[in-house]
Amino acid sequence: MKPVIVVHGGAWAIPDKIAEDSISGVKNAILEGIKILEKGGSALDAVERAVRSMEDNPVFDAGHGAVLNANGEVELDAVIMDGKTLAAGAVSSIRNISNPVTFARSVMEKTDHVMLTDRGANQYADCQGIPKVATDELITEGERKEWEHYQKYAHSVKTLFNSQLVHDTVGAVALDCSGNVACATSTGGIRNKMVGRVGDTPIIGSGGYADNNIGAVSCTGHGESIMKVTLARLILFHMEQGKSPEQATDEALQYMGKRVHGAGGAIVVSPDGKWAARFTTERMAWASIKEDTLSYGLNPKEMFNEKTFRIAS
């Protein structure tokens, strides 16, 4: 099985001033991921690595660079799922951790549970010796300024989302050479969200889903809308009915727009190696690698292709 990996850096009206950094961010992430897959590594390892790369990159709203909640704090959510066993790990409202996706994986592999939140999650992180990082390290100067600006002008979540608000959750899906699929998604959520607000990201079936029998999905966009339609599971449901990843995703996103007036995007991979990166927002930074071709885009209908070179193992 030829491996495939797709990543996204968020579906929203990405402003020109960070467009280039967003594209290079998703490209860097995908190159990290493909290195693992090409050496015969697992889809799970690949999606984790790709998402970590974006969590460490302050241009994205995940880990470093996350948006602030109403209290000016950083609360992070993440999910990771293994399509082989349907094992999953999720964390919500965690603080002071650099890489929520790795922590989510630890919940999946080291506990009997699927999801941990807030205080209990942070206690478990301490038990596991996961290094704490100061809040200031996670917040960028730019984000602090934006937050202060929004404190002055109350906006509704919908308005905020529809008008240029940062909402770049990051995510990855992959198919490895053993035919296993996996997904991972990570976010700081919506700027100025209520303390303790949990969006779609850590909710199995909404922010992500992976099943070797159907495929893997990672979503981004207006979290509350994604949850209402359980977007990831919906896309896979359409694929179960025989639709291609592209058709399935378009149909599900259309439905989300029509039924609950939400916009967003999703990346998908199927067990036979097909993939899609689709969105109904103004832009979505995404990249994919399949068979030595790196594809990427930002604007609707855009797809640039480059040849990758084999990374020596």
Binding site: S92, S93, T111, T117, G120, I204, M227, K228, L234
Partner: protein, 312 residues
């Protein structure tokens, strides 16, 4: 549309001494909800009322009577969903309130979010004037006893809850009102001796509940982690979308959960035509339903008794 209410009191194991109480509690909850529906009230109000009744009843693992986490605390999850708009509200790991389902409804109606967790949920509760209750008032001798037993090394809380003489898991309700709107609500104290901050299926939309006027509504109970892995409620609704009856949809999904992820549980379902079922792969699940002035109820597999409402 003839309104329908179905409620469940959890698919975990119940000791014989608690059988009568659990059966009576679901019937009372169903009848209280039915009164609302009979008067033209909404499915949303009906499911909330049914769940509030069970949260207040120390017999069930929700609100008062919730199981304790590993630290001996009560952390509760709940969700409510409106099939008309797909609006939903949920709280996870919330402490110190009597009715998490009411707080979930407030999240749905008074915020622009769908889910608040832990500290954030408590803050919101305070801001809404929801009275704080002493955590001790939510505990029962039974829940304390189970907690102590499961602290012992070598104990297996999942097994204890689902297969052994453990406490029941989760309460829920689904309804369709005279306007044809469906709704679903679920509430729980979670898993016996769970890790602090553990969130199960209950507050996760598509897992612990789903409601969509086009197809129906579902509320599950059972091994939460397994329910999450298969997004049980969403799966049941997908099956109904494909034309399956509520019974076939529920059985197919529960069987899949058993074979794919070795999870057992139960579910109540109503479809958009008012057909309903209560199905489970566990040994027992106290449930009750009211439709057309008939009360139906059961406990063991295959059981279904009927009484006219007027006779009660």
């Amino acid at each position: 549309m003839l309104p329908v209410i179905v409620v469940h009191g959890g698919a975990g194991l119940v000791g014989a001494e608690r059988l009568e109480g659990s059966c009576r509690g679901v019937q009372e909850a169903a009848l209280a909800a039915y009164r609302i529906l009979q008067q033209g009230g909404s499915a949303l109000d009906a499911v909330e009322e049914a769940v509030v009744k069970m949260e207040d009843n120390p017999m069930y693992n929700a609100g008062c009577g919730s199981v304790l986490n590993e630290l001996g605390e009560v952390e509760m999850d709940a969700i409510i969903m409106d099939g008309k708009t797909l609006a939903s509200g949920a709280v996870s790991a919330v402490r110190g309130i009597a009715n998490p389902i009411k707080l979930s409804r407030l999240v749905m109606e008074k915020t622009q979010h769908l889910c608040l967790t832990a500290e954030g949920a408590s803050r919101f509760a305070k801001a809404m004037g929801v009275p704080e209750v002493e955590e001790e008032s939510l505990k029962t001798d039974y829940s304390r006893k189970r907690w102590v037993e499961n602290l012992a090394p070598g104990s297996n809380p999942v097994e204890s809850q689902m297969y052994g003489k453990g406490k029941m898991g989760t309460v829920g309700a689904v309804a369709i009102d005279s306007q044809g709107n469906v709704a679903s609500a679920t509430s729980t104290g979670g898993m016996l001796n769970k890790m602090a901050g553990r969130v199960g299926d209950t507050p996760c939309v598509g897992c612990g509940a789903y409601a969509d006027n086009l197809f129906g509504a579902a509320s599950p109970t059972g091994h939460g982690e397994a329910i999450m892995k298969v997004t049980l409620c969403r799966l049941i609704l997908f099956h109904m979308e494909q034309g399956m009856s509520p019974e076939k949809a529920a059985d197919t999904a529960l069987e899949y959960m058993k074979t794919r992820v070795q999870g057992i549980g139960g579910v109540i379902v109503v479809n958009s035509s008012g057909d309903w079922v209560a199905r489970f792969t566990s040994e027992k699940m106290p449930w009750a339903a009211v439709k057309n002035d008939q009360l139906h109820y059961g406990f063991y597999k295959g059981e279904s008794f009927t009484l006219p409402v007027s006779s009660i």
